[in-house]
Amino acid sequence: MKINKVWKSTLAMGFALTLSGAAFAEGTFRYATVGEPPSLDQHVITSDLATTIAHHMFEGLYTFNASNAPVPLLAAGDSLEDGGKTIKIDLRKDVKFHNGQAMTSADVVASLNRWGEFGSRGGLLFSNVESLTASGDHQITIKLKAPFGPWKNLMAFINGGPAIYPASVMNGATKEPLDPKEYIGTGPYQFGEWLPNRHVELVRNDAYTSAAGAADGYGGERKAEFDALRFIPVSDVGTRVSGIRAGDYDYAESIPGDLFADLDGDANVTTILNGGPIFGLAFMNSKHGPLKENFKLRRAIQTAINKTPALQVAIGPEKLWAANGSFLPKGNVWHTEAGTANFSKGDAEAAKALAKEAGYAGDPIKVMVSTNYPFHYDTAIVYTKQLAQAGFNIDLQVYDWATLIKKRAQPDQWDIFFTHHGFVPDPILISVMNDNYPGWWATPEKAALKAKFTASADPEERKKIWSDIQALIYEQVPTMKTGDVYTYNIASPKVKGLGSSTLIWPAFWNVSK
């Protein structure tokens, strides 16, 4: 029991023998996080922090290699039949759960079913699934209603994705996140303990069997070098930086851009860029208020804003941001310039004229932003200023994040709100594509393009349709992209094997110190 701790520590005082003991074994990796994740259950939780921790212990059938292409992880291989409507996936036979049981198709079917019904992103795939069956001890068969292009990307994306749990854990599981007692996965690390406010600790899984092949992105060999990974909440960013400088932590996440030059030049610190950029989004209300269906007014707002100064203020060094209008970054297969001519005009006069045409008469526009994310707030401050210069009457409302989430679900409470989006491997996963996401963009034009987009399995055709969707986003402005932000983390130079950037979330298999 935890209550004993207090007494134990009192006892420790009696045995004042350990005064010289080192605080941590060398085999413990100490990661300073921004906070604590809501839960580590990957099916229902989409927090990036949760995945950073959890993808060391939960694995899916597929994962991404270094070029963001899906590769098998717990799967051994797959074949498409029936013109892409039937998917047969073979499972690896050497996989054991942390509780010692071998993984079979029953576990996979149970996990996929729960994900499909309750998982955050499961509905995207499962709304198109006719049946899911175990077609052998180590084979499953998925029958689709129609060919579905992004299936493998969805399976490989572990955040809010199909982690494989034992069937016994899935029994009766619902939308409610799993209890830590049920954190049983297949990964190189397994759940150790979660002390509220103190840390989440994972310990090495000695019985781990890795996927075949050399390490490539998240694919290939995974080797746990540490005895334990300890994720310690250090909410104050200054304290995280100090902690790395002083050697109290090995790794710290989410460091402000303005400190980049200093830290990059500091011999006691290594900087690690995050590969996939995150991007800020300012959603507009399609259901209620002055912006509803008034696309011209929305374009006026879009025209008024020059995104670059906001990025300069919010992020800092030019290496860490890109005023890029394409929803996916340069170099990515989904990159397209469609519509981006309107990304960052910053033309107050043109905006005024457009707003006048749109019938805008100076009604207040309610903008919600949270200070929990400083870069949202900094961006909002700069935009508010620019919009005011273009004659808009902006009512900036600042809330804590939980309040903002609550308010944005109520259409009459806001006109624009700020959020951000993590890097995703398939545009279908971008929140604005979801008709139910606050903002509620669901015009007939969008519906038509979206239907075409998911039905196609041809990569070239899908790219073409995506560029049409992006152009539509710049025309109807359900949301404004604020630009790409390359976040970075810092580490102690003693840590080996990190590479100069992460793929999506930092991973600590094949890493040592």
Binding site: T18, P38, T239, N372
Partner: protein, 315 residues
């Protein structure tokens, strides 16, 4: 005395009920709910409503309150929504840090505050008195987080003498040595409070000095230092004991800012985080316990007043 204690304990009940109902009402009025925090950005309103239903947060607020109250009376503080652990064990975890932090802070206050207070009082009006009183007041004027940030910068990052942040449990590797993690935080927290004690010791010693029995002792020809220690200080202790009680109670809860700066896993930060996460059962539990603690210390202070000072009668 026993009857008095009993009466006071009974009087706790309405205060506690009012306080807990007030907290309950306040935190449920805050917009936002646990389910939307748990499920994050992609959850639909239907999913959030369903999970809140499952967790029991859709009941009318008075129903929730009486359910909670009933359970608390049976010793069940409920389960943390966020940690999926019993509230009491979450609180116990934070209590270790808070209690050690408060204890170390009290040590600093005693070691620094009382001697300086005596010095200041026995040299009343001299430059020593002026300087010490001035410094005490200066320290009471520094925002704690500002002091903490600079202590980290100088002593942890610059000189590397102490860890920057965190506090591993004493039952963890390192044992008692882990208390070094609390050195800078306790100094940060002690600064304004030590100043308070310095002034209190000084003031109460000066008051007592004017009283008859001290004058008599002086007249008897006792040396000034003996008078200072035997008579004046002993009596001044009464006032100081009271201040200690309150300061300790305040330390456990008011350490929020210090705990945030140093990333300590204490009760204060638990409350702040729980408010941000809308983890209702934890907020209610912590505040209830702190209020009880405060009232008990209040009572103990009054009782010790009566013990130390026969002029005080308990009515």
């Amino acid at each position: 005395m026993l009857a008095y204690t009993l009466r006071r304990l009974i009087a706790f009940v309405p205060t506690l009920l009012a306080a807990s109902a007030l907290v309950f009402l306040f935190i449920h009025l805050i917009p936002g709910d646990p389910a939307s925090i748990l499920l994050g950005d992609t959850a639909t309103p239907e999913e959030i409503a369903a999970l809140n239903q499952q967790l029991g947060f859709n009941e009318p607020i008075y129903v929730q309150y009486f359910l909670w109250l009933g359970n608390v009376l049976q010793g069940d503080f409920g389960t943390s929504v966020f940690f999926r652990q019993p509230v009491l064990s979450v609180i116990a975890d934070g209590a270790e840090t808070s209690i050690w932090l408060a204890t170390m802070t009290m040590c600093w206050i005693v070691v620094i505050g009382i001697p300086i207070g005596i010095l200041s009082a026995t040299r009343q009006g001299t430059w020593i008195d002026q300087v010490t009183s001035g410094f005490a007041m200066l320290f009471a004027s520094i925002p704690t987080f500002w002091l903490g940030l600079y202590l980290i910068l100088i002593f942890a990052v610059g000189l590397g003498w102490f860890p920057t942040s965190g506090f591993p449990s004493l039952s963890d590797d390192g044992g008692l040595w882990n208390l070094r993690y609390l050195l800078l935080p306790s100094l940060t927290l002690a600064a304004p409070n030590a100043a308070l004690i310095v002034r209190l010791v000084r003031a109460s010693m000066l008051d007592v000095q004017r009283e008859d029995h001290v004058r008599t002792a002086r007249a008897k020809g006792l040396s000034p230092s003996r008078v200072a220690i035997r008579h004046v200080f002993r009596n001044a202790l009464i006032a100081v004991a009271a201040a200690f009680g309150f300061t300790f109670a305040a330390l456990v809860s008011e350490a929020v800012v210090t705990e945030t700066v140093f990333s300590l896993p204490g009760i204060g930060r638990l409350v702040v985080q729980s408010i941000l996460r809308r983890d209702y059962p934890v907020i209610q539990g912590v505040i209830l316990i702190i209020v009880v603690l405060y009232m008990v210390i209040n009572l103990l202070v009054d009782l010790s007043y009566a013990r130390l000072d026969p002029r005080v009668s308990l009515k």
